[in-house]
């Protein structure tokens, strides 16, 4: 190894000196707004999501700020209730795939062998399966199950986190400070804690952001297609599906969840892109 100063593990990408551009502030604000709506919404909603408060497709007015939906339910209340399942499902899937990705990726990246090779190949095959197809098949086997939706999201995004961690681990394995730590007699856990994970944090965070976007994309689509826990639960995806036919009467009922999903996708996407840029993408 050419490197001689290997006693301490340098952080490969510090990300220091990042300026907080207006775009970053704006997108972070957008992300926060969508998350707050989804998580705090159910407590501040004026009506229950299933309560009928008027005629179908009433235009927005003083009492119902976003009008009423296809069954005469308050759209604002349903918007405030309908994000939680999407955000919670996709955050769960993202955490699960990050943890499994770290374990499998490190294991596959920091060693060789036929079995490890086979596991990497299996992960590659999984990546070739269209996400929505897997979700629909699982939904057919386990109808009306939110767990099946989370499992489908996790399975289809797992290949990416395994690949990112594995690529980062392989890169790290060639670095002198890992060898130095091994020569010093550091234990495996110590090595992971102080030499491997700190250097993995950046690429993994950027990748987790992209997986979170994919997760929201998929869980919202599941709601739209009527997978997972079904009607009458509020769900942004299902709200679009329910209220699209009434778009000629009033657009607010389908536009409100649509706008929230667009704000989320754009904010999270741009932020993840920034993150990947400043940490150096391995994907």
């Amino acid at each position: 190894m050419a490197e001689t100063d290997t006693a301490r593990s340098p952080r490969e990408h510090t990300g220091a000196g990042r300026r907080r551009s207006p775009t970053t502030v704006l997108t972070a604000g957008g992300l926060l707004f969508v998350f707050a709506t989804a998580l705090i919404g159910p407590w501040v909603a004026p009506h229950a999501p299933t309560e009928q408060v008027g005629m179908p497709f009433e235009a927005p007015d003083g009492t119902h700020l976003l009008g009423t939906d296809v069954l005469g339910r308050d759209v604002l209340s349903r918007v405030l209730h309908g994000g939680r399942v999407i955000v919670v499902s996709s955050v769960c899937a993202t955490i699960a795939t990050s943890l499994i990705g770290i374990v499998v990726g490190l294991w596959a990246g920091l060693g060789d062998g036929r079995f490890r090779e086979a596991v990497v190949r299996a992960v590659d095959v999984l990546a070739a399966v269209p996400a929505l197809l897997l979700m629909l098949v699982l939904a057919a086997g386990y109808p009306a199950s939110d767990t099946a939706v989370v499992a489908a999201v996790a399975l289809t995004t797992l290949p990416f986190s395994v690949r990112v961690v594995r690529a980062a681990a392989r890169r790290l394995a060639g670095r002198g400070y890992i060898e130095a730590a091994l020569a010093r007699g550091d234990g495996t856990l110590h090595l992971l804690r102080y030499d491997v994970l700190p250097n993995l944090a950046g690429p993994l965070a950027a990748d987790a952001g992209i997986r979170l976007v994919a997760g929201v994309h998929l869980t919202a689509t599941a709601g739209f297609l009527g997978l997972g826990r079904g009607a009458p639960e509020a769900n942004w995806g299902r709200m679009v599906q329910e209220n699209l036919p009434g778009a000629k009467l009033t657009t607010a009922p389908f536009l409100a969840p649509t706008v929230l999903l667009v704000v989320f996708a754009v904010s999270a996407g741009v932020l993840a892109d920034r993150l990947a840029e400043s940490w150096g993408s391995d994907a």
Binding site: A128, L133, A140, H217, G226, T251, L255, F264, G269
Partner: protein
């Protein structure tokens, strides 16, 4: 390795993967074998009635035997009979798949030229403002669900400015091409989705090629712009780009399911969603297996073309 051997090797590999996927599809949908019988027999059927229906459908036999029956049938082109309406699954696939392929093909025709242009423009100037814009916008677009894009397009072109039909219904037995206007919004939605994904992949490959010494030296020799793109970057970027496009095409499988449901378009994705909603297990299995096969064939074609363009690629 000669081209023929490469193709044969890849075909065998794809067949192995398809067998694995068929096991996965079967296992995921048949783990609760009671349900299928219940669907056919009805909710308030007596236990004897249920047992009779289960025996009739062969659901009382071991799962391995049922899988082997199903898989051997699939090899002969017989995917069984759906529970709902007793339609032959293979007929439904043969009837609806072409409609979906038409959507996907039209979307590619629209999206690919734009994606190549944008991907090259961004990748050849990686890190510059134009690249950051294109990367940022496409990254944001990738995250927008297909049904959201479809809903917005529908609101604009069918509700606020009603120039296009809100639904894309096709009369029984007719081709969607008889009324081309119904194809516009579905194709536009799919194009937007495919465009973002394809642009990102082509950008990555163009950026790699642009950083190579031969492109650098061409630049130093005063070659730039379109000439640099066509003569120096594209020849190297084509191979990975074709593979990227195959990946995008495979990704359109999910897109078509959603788009067909938004517009009521009679494609294979709409049938799949209806089958899932109606718990029509043989239909779900047959359609899922067909779509897996379509995906694998698409990826295979992409790899073969990439290898024809650039035989050095080891992939």
């Amino acid at each position: 390795m000669t081209m023929l051997r490469y193709v044969i090797r890849r075909l065998v590999l794809a067949a192995v993967v398809l067998v694995l996927l068929s096991v996965a599809v079967f296992a995921a949908t048949e783990v609760l074998p009671g349900d299928a019988g219940d669907v056919v027999a009805g909710v308030d059927a007596s236990p004897e009635e249920r047992a009779r229906v289960r025996a009739e459908l062969g659901l009382d036999r071991p799962a391995v035997m049922r899988y082997l029956d199903w898989a051997s049938g699939a090899v002969r082109g017989d995917l069984g009979t759906g529970f709902v309406g007793r339609r032959a699954v293979a007929d439904v696939v043969a009837d609806r798949l072409p409609n979906s392929l038409l959507l996907a093909a039209l979307a590619l025709v629209v999206a690919v030229p734009i994606a190549v242009a944008l991907g090259l423009a961004a990748g050849m100037r990686a890190g510059r403002p134009l690249d950051r814009w294109i990367s940022g916008v496409t990254q944001a677009m990738v995250g927008i669900p297909e049904f959201v894009t479809a809903g917005l397009l529908l609101a604009v072109f069918a509700v606020w400015w009603p120039v296009l039909p809100q639904v894309s219904l096709v009369p029984l037995g007719a081709s969607p091409l008889h009324a081309p206007e119904i194809l516009v919004l579905p194709v536009l939605t799919l194009s937007v989705v495919g465009l973002a994904a394809a642009t990102r992949l082509i950008r990555a490959s163009a950026a790699d090629i642009s950083a190579t010494p031969y492109v650098e030296s061409a630049r130093l020799n005063g070659v730039y712009g379109l000439r640099l793109a066509v003569r120096h970057v594209l020849p190297g970027a084509w191979g990975p780009a074709v593979q990227a496009l195959a990946l995008t095409t495979a990704g359109l499988v999910g897109g078509t399911v959603v788009v067909e449901n938004v517009f009521g378009y009679p494609g294979i994705g709409r049938e799949l969603q209806l089958a899932v909603a109606g718990r029509d297990i043989p239909m779900v299995q047959g359609i899922a297996l067909s779509l897996c096969a379509v995906t694998l064939v698409t990826l295979l074609i992409g790899d073969v073309i990439a290898r024809l363009i650039d035989p050095r690629g080891a992939a």
